[in-house]
Symmetry: D3
């Protein structure tokens, strides 16, 4: 029921297969999840999005686990079911324990609460923060 | 212009001062930011919110810096100016470098993009994720 | 700095003035707030939006104060500064006390939190609710 | 499982049927989609919403296809499954090709990304834009 | 499919059972809905969230029905299916009639519209509101 | 007050200047807006974001004006002040008239309303849409 359908490996062009191969190699898995199969209907977007993700999620000043936790946090805030499920899985693969997940949820919930308290009480930014 | 005004330390009840003292002790600062001064108009909410924040942001399976990064990520997603400014400051106090900030922004931006690609392409959750 | 500017009463067409007059009469005030002056750049939208608001906010199964509280709750959730400020004022005019405002904020904050806990924990709807 | 159920044509009041007839005539279809059948539980809202939609989506300075593309863009941003599915269908009926859909998704995704980069980097509005 | 599963009463620790018992007593029901069973995977969050909800949703300056209406309004704005279904049920238990529900929906829909008109037309806050 | 400051042309590295030059050439302007000056603190993100924007906003199946209208629609839905102001300006440069802007606002407002009516009434997707 994906809008333009899903492109399976067997039916993919060489250009799309190259991205699929890279995804499987990077993630050390032997299957492609539906997000990429849906994007493959637009090879330009598939290639760009994967290139961006590879660059952005690579180890850097932040480690891959921290990045996956942030991925889940934002997906939960946006209430994107697919993002939550898939990146909870990837986060676990990067080492997220159940205790980490519990604390992640607690933080995400609280920030969504305090962001609205700030708005409703019309809290102005303190001059001390404007450095 | 805060809806109910801001309660300064000098004007606060002993109950509110006790929270203010705890906040300053925990954060090792000698001032109270406007969020708490605004909430102090509702001492029950002030006490509850601070107690929750202390419990949730304490070191645990996730370290305080990681929690602050998540705080910023969610505030950016919600576009809450106050949360962004204040917790960018707290995150820096916990050790966030400029490089960490840059990577944090890149991740948050990308997730907000991919969450919508998922929605628009109507991507169904893969059975592999439903373990 | 409103995108298309603000249409003052003195400069308004008879059609727009009729709406302005009705707004002032309904709200028992002698001025027009900027929202309507901005919409007046599109008389069709001005007339439609005011007609909708009059119909929707009128006393019915819910009283006007309850409707204003809901207005504020949604505006806070969307973090719409203008909606928060203006409808906090209208809510007060309908009888909202400071204590009501405090409780309203507490509820709105909490729901924004629990909505995300539901998403993150992937809570399925109980069959009991599907009646 | 719609909250108040769905009102089928056969069970509808003359007032509701009149709206249904108009919807089918305008869209050149012989069925009513669930959105309207759900709203029919509140005839005032049904009539108002349909009247608004007819006025707003009519050809004007923007053509109906452009309006449908915007409808999809907003629904995707809000992650409203029903809005995405139904207006992707109406957009196709108005002439949206698969290529248009692909480009629409790319734009919507990117804006959701850049909107957060703006927030996180706390970008101030340039004086040049404040004309 | 809840991320960490659901904790049934029979399998719950005494600490979790105490919360479950309190929930059932307060709501005068003999079952626990999935939200709490999911949170029970993190007893600290379960206890904190229930304590907060009890305090916040208790009768005060606002009556319990009004609070439930606000709960539904925010959940609808966030498009949180679970929150909508469950609190529509609790609201009905508190006395929400179908007519109240209809008016609630009309208000919530309209505010989501006007919040965006305000943003798009860049409406500045009137000095009269800044008291 | 931008988090990491703004990088002016005179202070930019050759790598950043190359992007700035390309932006000015593409947009036929002789200044750089703050968004890019803020992103320039992270040259990798600057280059990636500009490359993406160039690719995505280029004429294709959708013309540049339509893409700018979509940009504004999403920014309004997200209530991103910077995105609204800047892309309203770019849209005008691409030919958006005031009448187009008025209709754009009307559509965006309405979709935000109907997306919530769908959620609140729990409208299920019609089988006819699941082709």
């Amino acid at each position: 029921m994906a809008t333009l359908g899903l492109i399976e490996y067997a039916d993919a062009s060489p250009e799309v297969r190259a991205v699929y191969d890279d995804i499987m190699a990077m993630r050390e898995i032997d299957w492609i999840n539906n997000f990429w199969k849906a994007l493959a209907n637009d090879p330009a977007t598939l290639k760009r999005t994967w290139a961006d993700m590879k660059q952005i999620m690579a180890p850097g000043a932040l480690d891959p686990l921290t990045k996956e936790l942030i991925y889940v946090a934002v997906s939960v805030t946006n209430q994107c079911g697919y993002g939550i499920v898939s990146h909870t899985a990837w986060a676990r693969k990067q080492g997220m324990t159940d205790d980490m997940f519990r604390e992640l949820m607690a933080v995400v919930g609280m920030v969504n609460e305090t962001n609205r308290l700030v708005a409703g009480y019309q809290v102005e930014i303190d001059p001390q923060f404007k450095v």
